[in-house]
Point group: C2
Chain length 345, copies 2
Amino acid sequence: MKDSPNDLYRKLLEGDRRAAARLITMVENADPQARQALEMLHRHSGGGHIVGMTGSPGSGKSTLTCRLARHYRDEDRTVGIICVDPSSPFTGGALLGDRVRMQELSGDPGVFIRSMGSRGALGGLSVATNDVINILDAFGKDVIIVETVGAGQVEIEVVKYAHTCIVVTMPGGGDEIQAIKAGILEIGDIFVVNKSDRDGAPRAVADLEMMLETKPGIDEEAWKPPVISTVALSGEGVGELADAIAAHRAFLVQSGLMEEKTVQRMKAELLEILKVRVSRAAENALDEDEVGAGLIGRMSAREIDPHSAADEIVEYLFGAPDSNPGGHQAAQVWKADNSQGRDNE
Amino acid sequence: MKDSPNDLYRKLLEGDRRAAARLITMVENADPQARQALEMLHRHSGGGHIVGMTGSPGSGKSTLTCRLARHYRDEDRTVGIICVDPSSPFTGGALLGDRVRMQELSGDPGVFIRSMGSRGALGGLSVATNDVINILDAFGKDVIIVETVGAGQVEIEVVKYAHTCIVVTMPGGGDEIQAIKAGILEIGDIFVVNKSDRDGAPRAVADLEMMLETKPGIDEEAWKPPVISTVALSGEGVGELADAIAAHRAFLVQSGLMEEKTVQRMKAELLEILKVRVSRAAENALDEDEVGAGLIGRMSAREIDPHSAADEIVEYLFGAPDSNPGGHQAAQVWKADNSQGRDNE
């Protein structure tokens, strides 16, 4: 029998793991009832510290995540782990194939592990991942680690709004550093050179530190991202990493940035939800009715350019600006490109 | 003096390079007058073959792009090159620092080169890049190569809808292959193992071929992506790559998929434009007026969850479903989550 949103809500707050797993599956399937449970759970979230873990493939993020989780368990803190892999169709609570180490953790009731693949993309993978973070937060996990498999845009979007974002790299050539530069230098609160028993580790640390020092816009009071050397396989440096996470959290609380980060995260979630909804509405219109088919035909015949087609879809979906008395002026912003563009014609 | 959209349109069709450069700058600055010129130019586009070039950093995409461009110039075909680098604030028609080879090309009037960085992100980098592709297409370039610096989501979004998408890798360890697996195996029409004079090249080719054979959903009539070995520095294999691109184009035309690809590209462009507009409208509402500030406050106090906040923003921007007689049923799709979710409360 299917639980009602109310049942799920109640069971989740009682610590029922299966209820948490079921609710997450509902989120992945974009089940409307999940929405209700999320709404009710929302006021119970906010206690967990959200840690994002990203970096180049092969840098050992997964092993490091496990080590960090064990470290927290030794301190008797509970841990949620979310593995985000946009390239994988595989999901549903099971573990990614090569993550044997995580299986050791999965027997511990103080740890909750979930993988999210492209199947969780029914309502957008970023949206679903944020929902799962909020569920594990309300579920009472002290630390929620969101580990991404790659460093693509979806992954970055997901970890960017974590309380503490860890960027993992390893010694070995400028390519790794080059990959890191591509957009993720800005989002890292802590940098890790993993596999630091390999040749070139001190060089990699020095390179990173230099790049971080030349980072623009850093003022005196800002957080200075540390670079930490670890060997995840042996556990070396993991305690230091946990200390850095704690220090960053303390900094966020003291500086008042914690509150700001939380609001930024909710805003980002809200915008992702809107993007998914508007895309879905537009795709429905394009694929499923006569007006949409007509528009596709005119696009195909090059009679209409994509910007003008966007104008038509907006007008079709939401009505002409003046026929919508309930709409707000801000809505005109996204209808405005058209009228502006025609002023001088 | 600033050219009118009409002047730009006329000069562009006459082959005026400076007019093309000016229009591109206007696109990057989200100048509304660019919209008008784009609208007029649209019916002149569609003749160019759009080639996307993506792959891991350091694989030599840039050198390969230059070689390919020279090859086309030797055949007396004109070439447009767009370098997309989301991590770079640097743009505006100049070349990326290390692209010395491209400078050799830039003196040739049959080649037009443009770099797009995050500054081109005012109206969204994907949207701006698509606009620039369309401008160079209308400008009469026979081949338009869109080269991305990394393999992030924006880059993939940009090359995914090219007519022919080339994925570049190089010999050397499973990490490269692993990076390729992450979402870009599906989008490659042609795979290149560059730097194939290095150790491990045959192995890299064999690995790729094996991965491509196990790709699901390939039927008899489908295009079978070839794996080509090149040494971009010496030019080895570049002719073979050009042949593969020509073969893929012939396949698209013969199979009727060319038309379908074109429409898919326009649809994707349209959806990107919509996403940028809805985000901008929502951000404006959140940042600039009282209702938005109130919503942020309630989010901050955890009184409202992001999904419910999205409902409120939609209603605020576009009016309640029943107060919008001009709006279409499809618009209700993205307002519907709320009413659905409350049915069982």
